[in-house]
């Protein structure tokens, strides 16, 4: 089973059909819950609760939010890593290269096997552990990519060696075991791995969080470079607003399982509209600014029993009466700048 899988039809769905403006990924009102049933006690954790956004061709879309904001779950849902107790309850996730299915979770295994890594790849959080410690690096490349690239084993290995040197790695690392590599090297390996098939879409989940600052900068630069070179789209997730500022083209802010604001990244930083975004940006350290950072009162919402209305209202300095009653809709307040807040969009509530 380890050989390349012959692809019977030339990547049909993708083709060149789509116009360059058409988004690669369209997420529509997706809802993903953790559902557990334990002897009569059922729990429904609404980790992702109605999120809508697009990722366009050739852009890096950032997703930010504190931990437990649902961003990891959202990525899992998009990536089709749906395992119990996680369930997709509603909405659709449509990829340009997979127009026939409302998300990877709905696609049959054969389709998944064909699509994964060819069109869609990942750079995972905690990259220290993403490589199988029992396999040499080259074997991991073979497991992931050979079926898409095909050709003789030697040709494949040559191509991998070639590709690896593009991320400034000595091809000798291919013969090494993961534990013999440093953290930075491993992260570069995973980036090389994610890009070897030149996929249209790459999901990057906190790829730099565990790295020290210098390596981090290096890696970020590399991601940017490769993305430019290949013209792929990247969905980049991190809680680190600094990284977003440096890297992403557009930025979505999540809170309590929902998207609360979305805009081109410079716009977000320049003109944050949602009070939560304001807080996030305000909490970034700035040289020469020694005013004390305001911290939010209260704790992130319990998603098993979320507050009604706007989920941010218990902690919101601008909270109004309506906030606790009605969910604020996402409204394009400024061109390309959407926000869900009653304070920003009074009267938008339908």
């Amino acid at each position: 089973m380890s050989g390349p899988v012959a692809l019977k039809q030339p990547m049909t769905p993708v083709a060149s059909a789509a116009a360059s403006t058409e988004p690669v990924l369209q997420v529509r009102d997706v809802q993903a819950h953790f559902r557990t049933h334990h002897f009569g006690v059922s729990r429904d954790v609404r980790a992702v609760d109605g999120v809508t956004f697009d990722v366009r061709r050739n852009e890096i879309y950032g997703l930010a939010g504190e931990s437990s904001s649902g961003k990891t779950t959202l990525i899992k849902t998009i990536a089709g890593a749906i395992k119990p107790p996680l369930e997709v309850v509603g909405g659709s996730i449509r990829f340009s290269f997979l127009p026939d299915y409302p998300g990877l979770h709905a696609a049959p295994p054969e389709v998944l096997e064909r699509v994964r890594w060819r069109h869609l790849s990942y750079v995972m959080q905690g990259s220290m552990n993403v490589l199988n410690p029992m396999r040499r690096v080259i074997d991991t490349f073979r497991d992931f990519a050979w079926r898409h690239i095909g050709g003789s084993r030697r040709a494949f290995e040559e191509r991998v060696a070639d590709h690896v040197s593009r991320v400034r790695l000595d091809p000798a690392v291919l013969r090494a075991y993961p534990h013999e590599l440093s953290g930075g090297m491993r992260q570069r390996v995973t980036i090389a791995l994610a890009t070897i098939c030149k996929p249209e879409f790459i999901i990057a989940d906190e790829p730099t969080t565990a790295l020290d600052v210098i390596v981090q900068k290096d890696v970020l630069g590399m991601i940017r470079g490769i993305q430019r070179e290949m013209g792929s789209s990247v969905l980049f997730v991190t809680h680190d607003m600094g990284v977003h500022a440096h890297l992403t083209d557009r930025l979505g802010i999540m809170y309590g399982g929902r998207l609360v604001e979305e805009a081109p990244t410079p716009e977000v930083f320049a003109r944050p509209l949602h009070p939560y975004t304001t807080y996030l940006i305000g909490s970034l350290p700035r040289i020469g600014d020694d005013t004390p950072r305001k911290s939010l009162e209260g704790s992130p919402p319990n998603l098993a029993d979320p507050p009604p209305g706007c989920r941010f209202h218990p902690r919101c300095p601008l909270a109004m009466d309506i906030c606790s009653r009605q969910v604020p809709p996402m409204v394009e307040t400024l061109p390309g700048h959407r926000v869900a807040c009653h304070a920003v969009n009074p009267g938008a509530a339908a």
Partner: protein, 288 residues
């Protein structure tokens, strides 16, 4: 602690079954104190009576009431297992921690002894102990001997944990703050290995009770003291199986299986509780 118990009861089927089984068995053992007959006496009731309203589990060919005999037997057997477990836990803790923390020649010497205990065949050893000690081979002494033979595997396990603890920062801090080895082991490392100790206790009890049953059945223990193995021994002496006195074997076997399965389920569920990863997936906890 209570909260943990409550959580386990709430979310863990295995734990609940385990608690029920062990509860029944302990209940039985507790009843032994109300036995209307002296446990070691024979011919106190009519022999070979099948289970009936009067004798729930029937009577043996030796004229003993199987039910009451069983209550005493399971009590002794459980007590035995617990004693072995406790003593051998202490041994394996001390040796494992010391060996793992100290390293060097202490480690090598201790592990050589440890490995010797692993490779040496236990059975002839126990039989010879029995021959030498004879009458003075009470269950307590047997328990001590078994404990002395039963610590080696777990000492190795604890040692490996202790070795990793040694490299942790807090150990260095403790060393720099001038704590003695004993203090470091007792205050800093012990809490980390306690979960292992706890889960191996159950397995060790299973092991020791199993060995005790085996030895008794072969007649190498004090058969004056009623135990589960002793009951089966006497049943074999009376060829109960072919004589059709099935209840003499069936009930002790059933109870001992209940005890074992119960203990094992408790061990497994606590183990899972201790291991956060499997607990998380079980309880379906928060978004990650």
């Amino acid at each position: 602690m209570l909260a943990i118990l409550r959580d386990l009861l709430k979310y863990n089927l295995e734990f609940r079954i385990g608690i029920i089984l062990v509860g029944i068995v302990i209940g039985l053992a507790g009843l032994s104190f109300f036995s209307p007959y002296p446990p070691t006496d024979v011919y106190v009731v009519a022999p070979d009576v099948p289970p009936s309203a009067e004798y729930w589990f029937g009577t043996t060919s030796r004229g003993q009431d199987v039910f009451w005999q069983l209550t005493v037997a399971i009590r002794n057997t459980l007590l035995f297992g617990l004693t072995v477990a406790v003593i051998s836990r202490v041994l394996s803790l001390v040796i494992g921690l010391l060996s793992g923390y100290k390293g060097g020649w202490i480690d090598r010497a201790l592990m050589a002894v440890n490995d010797t205990f692993i490779v040496i065949p236990l059975f002839p050893l126990l039989v010879l102990f029995y021959f030498v000690l004879r009458d003075s081979m009470s269950w307590l002494l047997l328990a001590v001997i078994m404990a002395a033979l039963g610590w080696a595997y777990d000492a190795r396990l604890i040692r490996s944990v202790a070795m990793s603890l040694k490299t942790r920062e807090f150990t260095q801090t403790a060393v720099f703050s001038g704590m003695t080895t004993r203090e470091i082991l007792a205050r800093e490392h012990l809490p980390y290995v306690m979960p292992i100790v706890f889960s191996t206790t159950m397995n060790n009890m299973n092991w020791s009770i199993g060995l005790e049953v085996t030895l008794s059945v072969l007649g190498f223990t004090d058969i004056n003291t009623p135990t589960i193995g002793g009951m089966i021994y006497w049943a074999n002496q009376h060829t109960a199986m072919v004589a059709g006195v099935w209840w003499w074997i069936a009930f002790p076997v059933a109870v001992v299986i209940m005890a074992f399965v119960g203990l094992f389920l408790l061990a497994v569920s606590m183990n899972e509780y201790i291991d956060p990863r499997s607990r998380l997936s079980r309880m379906g906890g928060g978004a990650r």
